[in-house]
Amino acid sequence: MTHVKEKDITARKTPDTANTLSGNAATDVKVAYIDNKAYEVKDGETILSFIRRHLGHDLVPTLCDAPNLEPFGSCRVCSVDVALTENGNVKTQASCHTPVMANSYIYPSSERIQKLRKNIIELVLTDHPLDCLTCEVNNNCELQTVAAKVGIRKVRYPEGKNHLDRKKDMSHPYMTSDFSKCINCFRCVRACDEVQGQFVLSMAGRGFESHIIKSSEVSFKESDCVSCGACAQACPTSAISDVFESKSVANVEKTRTVCTYCGVGCNLEVATIGGKIKSIQAPYDAEVNGGHTCLKGRYAFGFYNHQDRLKTPLVRKNGELVPATWNEAYDYIEKELKRIKSDFGPDYIAGISSARCTNEENYLMQKFIRAVIGTNNIDACARVCHSPTALGMQRTFGTGAATNSIIDLKYTDCIMVIGANPTDGHPVTGAKLKQFAMKDKPSIVIDPRRTELAKYATVHLQLRPGTNVALLNMMLYYIIKEGLEDKQFIESRTEGYEDFKNEILKLNIDEMERVTGVNRELVRKAAIIYASANNAMSFHGLGVTEHSQGTFTVMLIADLAMITGNIGRRGVGVNPLRGQNNVQGTADMGCQPHQGAGYLDVTNPEYHKKYEAFYHAKLPNYAGYKIPQMYDAALNGKLKALWLMGEDNVQTDPNTNHVRAALEQLDLLVVQEIFMTETAKMAHVVLPASSFLEKSGTFTNGERRIQRVNAVVKPIEGTKPDGQIVADIMNRMGYKQTDYDPKTLLEEISQIVPFFAGVKWDELGDNGKQWPVLPDGSDTEILHTETFKRGKGKFAYNDWRESEELVTNGREFPYILTTNRELEHYNAGTMTRRTGNNEILTEDVLMINPEDAKTHAIKNGEMVCVISARGKIDVKAKVTDEVLPGILSSTFHFPEIKMNDLTSSIADSEALCPEYKVVAVNIRKSKGKYKTGKTS
């Protein structure tokens, strides 16, 4: 962090009001004096923030203070003199953690204070190597800056005992430490505790022996470190850093962009040298992540110039994919698309867009399929994750996006996290949720697995997978029974409540308790906690949506918010944790078969006309195929061409064999990719695309925040941004489309997507804007404040139903397999496995309860054979009580395990999101397809 940055923050947080006041300030304004001059005091501020607010960042030097940490007061460099009368007797106070007192006289730079600061730094320097010229942080070292500022010219103390011979720790793929440079300021310890909540670092020993430890005094590699890098960014010297030397001033060129690894949308500051990426840090002034990010965002960028990157188009000739020029590839595609379109019709062609790509690229992709091909067969990977969220919330509220913002966590009194594992899947939001729960604030976790968050929760409802609807109905039952409904909200803002209530009260609680496996008293407790909090926020993830009753579950979560009046203000709402970086934007841009850009119904004559006029093209007025329907159509000969933008469907969609069989039927499979994937291997044409670091555009995060993605480096030679590829083909197909340019495309989008009306590329700034953005450019943090998008919120009751999978296969396959994520890897690992993350987490594991392990004589680390009605796989066992007996849970980052050979084609009844989370399986000890203990 540079000082300029810090200054920016101070300025931003506290927009300056009038600066100095005259000596006779008005009586109702509290003042304090700095060097005998009066300045206005704000309630609760510290002396340091008071001085910095009025006189700038640099007047008082600090070492242990950091922008994203609580005041601490260990270094005393910020000491100032404070008197009760003008030029009166002074007392020295550490300004960073002492509240400013009205009418006090503060002398921040008196001679005494200057001497004191100098002496402190001198003492620090007696135990600090003076090898600045060769130090990694030379010129960006806070100790160096402060030493210079206080005017150290020599250290008067003789050389004594010191810690200069401490060994460096280079054990970890990312984190490094050199504690000979440590000044015991505790910034790393506090970052680990306050920002990430991991408690890996601490100060051990006493006096001269005080030193930083990692876990039980082990190396970074052996410790419980989650490599978020918060400590490295917080460290004022190079005592803790990373292998990319993020704090080196050599990294002068910096580009701000947005992370592509999840829906949190962390801002990243990417440093480059000579067109190559050197390191990534988290900007402190980012509203989304405020100086924090996770190891994927901060360190897992090495994939971008990995040798495996696709660098030339490939075209299938005589059964093999061979390198071709862009022209040859385009010729092939053009010819085939035109042939299929004229022989069979446009509905024999389909496209699948990508939530990893920008809004502008997604917009172009759906425009290409709709306006150029002439079909609504466009879908996106949101289908397999949050499509039930969009649909469920649309049905209840009228719009399918998070109602509130992450900043609302500061204002809420209760959190309820359902089917989400944010500390792994959404690490920065996860860390915030964890900080909330760790402070013993009311937290409810509903999850079949004892997740990290569940360990801190007030109540953990550990239900059987597939019984979300039963459990939430129980909660609603108890809310009504206890009379905790918000009658006024229900009356004025909702409809359908009476019928809903009657259905809920008819519930057979005995049966619900039995099927969920959760004690009714615990459910009642959770219901009371949620309903009686002043402000309660719910969060949900794929543990809600990837079920046959996914949409119904989302509707119930929305019902819970409505029945308790938790909608439409700060600190409440329904907040889906969107999985991919731009899954919100993909749907917003119309990559859905039934709704175009801006969620307008393609079958509605008025909107149909509007789209036709806007695209200057003839469009179909009926909905197209959803992804699972595309496979079925291909198998039935109804689909001949499929265009995939950045998705590895073979590995990530359920029931692999079914997907493969479908893709094999196609005449034309085009895949835009950055790496050769299992799906790309089946393609007729593979087009090498640029990664997010190589292109510009916008991503919309899980809180509807449209943020600018700025190209950090030029596209890797031989690749093109996905948007450019699509634009090229549109032109080839005879549609006049300008080149891929985010600015002009955003302008076009703002004309058709109602809630983008006021979005302009140049006005998005560093922190973006949250939609709806009105024509005047103002944005929206909270939805549904006065009325719902659909008018009144709609209560709708749905019975719990056992998943078809368990009804059909449950007897023969008595275990339930569900899936979960790990922090280190992203989805199928195409990117993260080509980074140092692969050294940290090397394999998938199957969690199995000790009881079940004993039954099958399976030991921790042994291979288990998991069998479903569709296939069998071998995976390594992790014996843990995180899962209940009868339940298994596996990660899915290593597709070679072929987890999706097991999963079924059963999907959510409404949105067709696959049911990844409930698979009936059986287990036995592996017969040794793999050697046990292969890696560890």
Partner: protein, 184 residues
């Protein structure tokens, strides 16, 4: 920090667990971390006179706190041993009064007699020699502490007798006995 104790299951005896419950009950709910120091003494007494990482982790789990919160405390106090110690831990005071009255000679004698340096343990695992700061018995200097017992007004002869006594099973009280009887 020393991992040690990796082979055995770390669990307090029923009697100690009862004590643990009583100690925790002294503090308000949610403030169970306050019981950390007495629990560490108890753990050190029960698990071979020192605190290995698994033992500290066990204490953390009893108090529902983070393991590192135990490490930072245990490493702060000199009375917690983070390395294995002998059956008899001899702690010789070396602060002013004892030093003036010959603590250095006592230490040198012990080193010679036991064949170890300060901080080391005899090969037979019987004795560990440690120097400490003031134990608050200046009137009877020089002195040392073994287990929870003071041995005062030391002379070379007295030290020799003490060593012989300590080698005799019946005459040696364990740290555990003393911790339990004296403190709780």
């Amino acid at each position: 920090m020393n991992t040690g104790h990796t082979q055995q299951e770390i669990k307090f005896s029923d009697e100690s667990l009862e004590l643990v419950r009583n100690i925790i009950a002294r503090y308000p709910q949610g403030k169970q971390k306050s019981a950390l120091l007495p629990l560490l003494h108890l753990a050190q007494a029960e698990f071979d006179g020192w605190l290995s990482v698994p033992v500290m982790d066990y204490v953390a789990s009893l108090l529902s706190i983070k393991p590192i919160e135990v490490y930072e405390v245990a490493s702060f106090y000199t009375m917690f041993n983070l390395k294995p110690v002998g059956k008899c831990l001899i702690e010789v005071c070396q602060t002013s009064s004892c030093w003036l009255l010959g603590a250095e000679d006592i230490i040198k004698h012990l080193e010679k007699k036991l064949g170890i340096k300060v901080g080391e343990t005899t090969k037979d695992g019987m004795f560990t020699l440690k120097t400490v700061e003031c134990l608050g018995s200046c009137g009877t200097a020089p002195m040392l502490m073994c287990g929870a017992q003071f041995h005062e007004n030391l002379t070379i002869e007295k030290v020799d007798t003490l060593l012989t006594d300590l080698k005799t099973e019946g005459k040696r009280k364990t740290y555990l006995d003393e911790v339990k009887i004296d403190k709780y």
